[in-house]
């Protein structure tokens, strides 16, 4: 099977080369057969990569310990569930997995558009094949996952060796979320290749209009959604498994996943400027280019070891390859831009400083500043070593100080931006739109203060969260009221109808609401408390309103690990609340590492987070580390809303029944043109 896998990848490399070179020839000759063969070669490349990936999975499941990768990342006792995840546990497998996910996107695009956009698709195929060639080069010639174990025998010749068992999977990865977190994150990273390919292709082909944006909008949203889910799951994994009480440590690997998410978010907003007003064409193209480059940069940072990270899981010598690839991408992008920049001539005009357009500019400014600040902070230790000779660390306190004000400014714009009309917003309209949300925000802030959340940034954050939630609620309420008045439907049904008529706009609002929930959760971090104690049987510790009593401990022997478990009774106001069971798992063949299974009692108000840290090296008694983390649950709830909003935005609009009676003048600065042409659909320029 390893030979089959290796051969599949080698053949895939050849096919990708053909798709690339044949594609370029097809662009010049416009020969229909050449165009078709290049496209089909692209499809075959993807299928062959699937074969290669299947081969590695087969080797993992069949415990083939003659393969170095299987020995390094699996063992006989590993459950089937985690054998599947071993595919991306190491450098070679994760690069193959990257190629595989990229192929899913590419094959979908090549098949979906096989009879459409004939002028553009050959260029798209060439760009996609170019990206595949790079990853297939790594899969075949640099980090092959099919290397066999070999040793020199007595006669001095190399011979194949088969081990009786493998080293097993990294204990930190043996957690259910690690089976879905990397695929989501990788799907995000690889998904941004599609808008990149279309943007570059449109520029190279001088493809007319905003067609590439319409074509890639959904692909971009899918990639963004996967990236968001991946980041959320990664944060939850860090929270539930690493046992340090937090969910985001500004580690270089975490930062690497955030960078393309920030520029991708900026792009999803600024693209509306191009669609609606024909503005910012150059900016949008470069945002897409940068997002893709940041995906590659993120992969480079994770794997090259250029920055130290607690969970840069695979460091190796492939850094120069990524640097070279980024150099080539930059060269191609700059060349395409300077050659065809007149094609990107925008219709940049601004009717008023107070308008949706200006809010989008500030939105993009904040996302870009956030991105560059995170990037420069992540790379600063390297820069400081280059320029000053000594490495200066940049840890979480720095990022918190820099990013909290930027995050709050973005939150503020989340509330303000969607309520500003395109072109111009009147003072009257602003009063009408912002009056109640401001009052509600002030009340919300006062309640938070009364509840004890008294820290400047948290106070501002909670005020803004209520303000933004109120603006979103009013948007739904106003629209639903109009539909309800016309159709006689209930307000709930009308709100549903409203959302389904303009899924992109209202899906966007749902995403914004999800982000509000995330920010509520983040605001709680300022009030975290923790206690760490060496405990004896029957000992107790107090944390906030909770009393923790260590009742007992036992061990649990499983096939692949042995768990030491503490039994902790939790009391609140001297009444028994529940039992918690924090664990420490020790895996066979990996004594230096252990898995921490945190016991969490989670409510909307706070999380009681209990870690069994192990036995104190001095006394051999158990050490219990308990944290009280307010509002954390809101972060995970917010993540769910973000996904729901994105899914809503991806759905097609439901056609509104044409109502010829004039719409009542209830809300917003409606364009006269819009009311005349489309009286029943929308009252005001949408978020989309």
């Amino acid at each position: 099977m390893d030979v089959f896998g290796s051969f599949s990848l080698l053949l895939a490399f050849v096919c990708a080369l053909y798709a690339f070179i044949g594609g370029i020839a097809a662009i010049y000759t416009r020969h229909p057969l050449l165009i078709k063969s290049a496209r089909q070669s692209g499809i075959v490349t993807c299928v062959l990569i699937f074969f290669g990936t299947f081969s590695l999975e087969y080797l993992l499941y069949s415990d083939n310990f003659s393969i170095a990768y299987v020995v390094a990342h699996s063992n006989r006792d590993l459950s089937s569930f985690y054998k599947f995840a071993a595919l991306w546990a190491g450098q070679e497998g994760s690069l193959l997995f990257w190629s595989c996910l990229l192929s899913v996107y590419i094959i979908s695009v090549l098949i979906a558009y096989r009879n459409k956009n004939g002028e553009l698709m050959p260029y798209v195929g060439v760009v996609l094949a170019g990206v595949q060639i790079f990853f297939l080069t790594l899969n075949n010639f640099v980090e092959s996952p099919f290397k066999t174990l070999a040793a020199v025998n007595a006669s001095g010749a190399l011979e194949m060796v088969t081990r009786s068992d493998g080293n097993g999977l990294n204990p930190l990865l043996q957690y259910p979320e690690m089976v879905i977190h990397p695929p989501n994150l990788y799907s995000g990273y690889t998904g941004f290749t599609i808008p990149f390919a279309f943007a570059l292709a449109a520029l190279l082909a001088r493809y007319p209009g905003e067609k590439w944006i319409h074509l890639t909008r959904k692909w971009t949203m899918i990639a963004w959604c996967f990236q968001s889910v991946g980041i959320m799951l990664g944060a939850h994994w860090a929270y539930a498994v690493l046992g340090w009480g937090g969910y985001w440590g500004w580690d270089p690997v975490e930062n690497a996943s955030l960078l393309p998410w920030l520029t991708g978010t900026a792009f999803l907003h600024s693209v509306m400027m191009q669609e609606k007003r024909g503005m910012m064409k150059v900016w949008n193209v470069w945002l897409v280019f940068c997002t893709f480059l940041l995906c590659i940069l993120g992969t480079f940072l994770t794997r090259s070891g250029v920055v130290s990270s607690v969970h840069a899981f695979a460091n190796s010598q492939i850094g120069p390859w990524f640097v070279g690839f980024m150099g080539v991408i930059l060269l191609v992008c700059f060349t395409a831009y300077f050659k065809n920049r007149d094609y990107l001539k925008s219709e940049n005009q601004l009717d008023s400083m107070v308008s949706r357009e200006s809010s989008f500019l500030f939105n993009n400014l904040l996302f870009l500043v956030a991105c560059i600040a995170v990037l420069s902070g992540t790379l600063f230790p390297v820069f400081s070593e280059w320029f000053s000779g000594s490495r200066i660390s940049v840890g979480a306190p720095f990022f918190n100080k820099v990013m909290i004000p930027i995050g709050l400014a973005i939150l503020f714009l989340t509330g303000v931006g969607p309520l500003l009309a395109w072109r111009k917003t009147s003072v009257e309209s602003m009063k009408r739109n912002f009056g109640w949300p401001l009052v509600t925000g002030a009340v919300g802030g006062a309640i938070a203060f009364a509840l004890g959340y008294r820290e400047v940034y948290s106070q501002i954050c909670l005020f803004l969260c209520v303000f933004v939630a109120a603006t979103i609620f009013m948007e739904f309420y106003r629209g639903a009221k109009v539909i309800s008045a016309r159709s006689g439907m209930s307000m709930m049904m009308s709100a549903h109808e409203l959302a389904m008529r303009n899924t992109r706009r209202y899906g966007g609002y749902v995403v914004h609401f999800g982000m509000v929930l995330v920010f509520i959760g983040l605001a709680g971090a300022a009030f975290n408390k923790d206690v760490q104690k060496v405990m004896n049987l029957g000992d107790s510790m107090q944390l906030g309103p909770y009393t923790l009593v260590l009742q007992s401990g036992d061990t649990k022997v499983e096939k692949n690990y042995t768990a030491e478990r503490m039994i902790v009774e939790v009391l609140k106001n001297n009444k028994q609340l529940m039992m918690l069971y924090p664990e420490k798992r020790k895996f066979s063949g990996n004594e230096q590492q252990a898995g921490t299974m945190v016991a969490i009692y989670s409510t909307l108000r706070d999380d009681l987070y209990v870690v069994y840290a192990g036995q104190d090296p001095d006394t051999n008694f158990p050490v219990i580390h308990a944290y009280l983390n307010p509002l954390v649950k809101w972060i995970w709830l917010g993540g769910v809303w973000v996904v729901m909003g994105t899914l809503l935005a991806l759905m097609p609009n439901r056609k509104a029944a044409l109502v010829l009676s004039p719409a009542p003048q209830t809300a917003g600065a409606t364009s006269p043109i819009q009311q005349t042409l489309n009286p029943s659909v929308s009252l005001r320029e949408g978020h989309d």
Partner: protein, 171 residues
């Protein structure tokens, strides 16, 4: 899959430990030392965490390592000598180098890290204001030009108006 609960190890451990030992805080260091420990990195080179918050995720013992404990003891010794936080920090920098900082110092090359975000914001704001003004000016100038063009070719103006209406009403 073999599954067994073996309370033996810990029950034995605990039954041996029924002596009237009072549970103690893990860190023998003062709160001040632990708070200060949040400002310096644990120099064990295995965790990349602060000395005060060292918990070695994924390690066999997820609590402060010997290095972190040693560093906090050292902090307490400095505190006992009556040194200020700044003096203690400088003592650690002298011992371990600038890598001991959790956040860059606000002097020397470290200041660059703090200035960069401010620089980005100022530069970005300048660019946004520049483009807003430029586009606003273009819009002010545009109606006169558009009016003149419409007089020359009314059908072009109509097409543009229609395209604009399409854009504005597009869902």
């Amino acid at each position: 899959m073999t599954k067994a609960r073996r309370p033996a190890l810990f029950v034995l451990l605990f039954s041996l430990a029924v002596s009237p030992l009072v549970a103690v805080r893990l860190a023998a260091q003062s709160d001040h030392a632990r708070q200060f420990g949040m400002k310096i990195k644990c120099m064990c080179k295995g965790c990349d965490m602060t000395a005060g918050g060292c918990s070695h995720p994924g390690g066999a013992f997820s609590g402060p390592c010997e290095t972190a404990k040693g560093m906090l003891k050292e902090v307490d010794q400095h505190i006992a000598k009556g040194e200020t936080d700044d003096q203690i920090l400088q003592a650690f920098v002298a011992e371990y180098g600038s890598v001991v900082y959790v956040e860059p110092p606000k002097h020397g090359f470290g200041l660059v890290a703090w200035m960069m975000p401010i620089f980005y914001i100022i530069l970005g704001l300048g660019l946004v204001v520049f483009f807003l003004k430029k586009w606003r000016k273009r819009a002010v100038d545009a109606p006169a030009t558009a009016h003149a063009q419409a007089a020359v070719n009314p059908s072009d103006a109509f097409e543009r108006a229609r395209a604009q209406a399409d854009r504005e009403t597009e869902e």
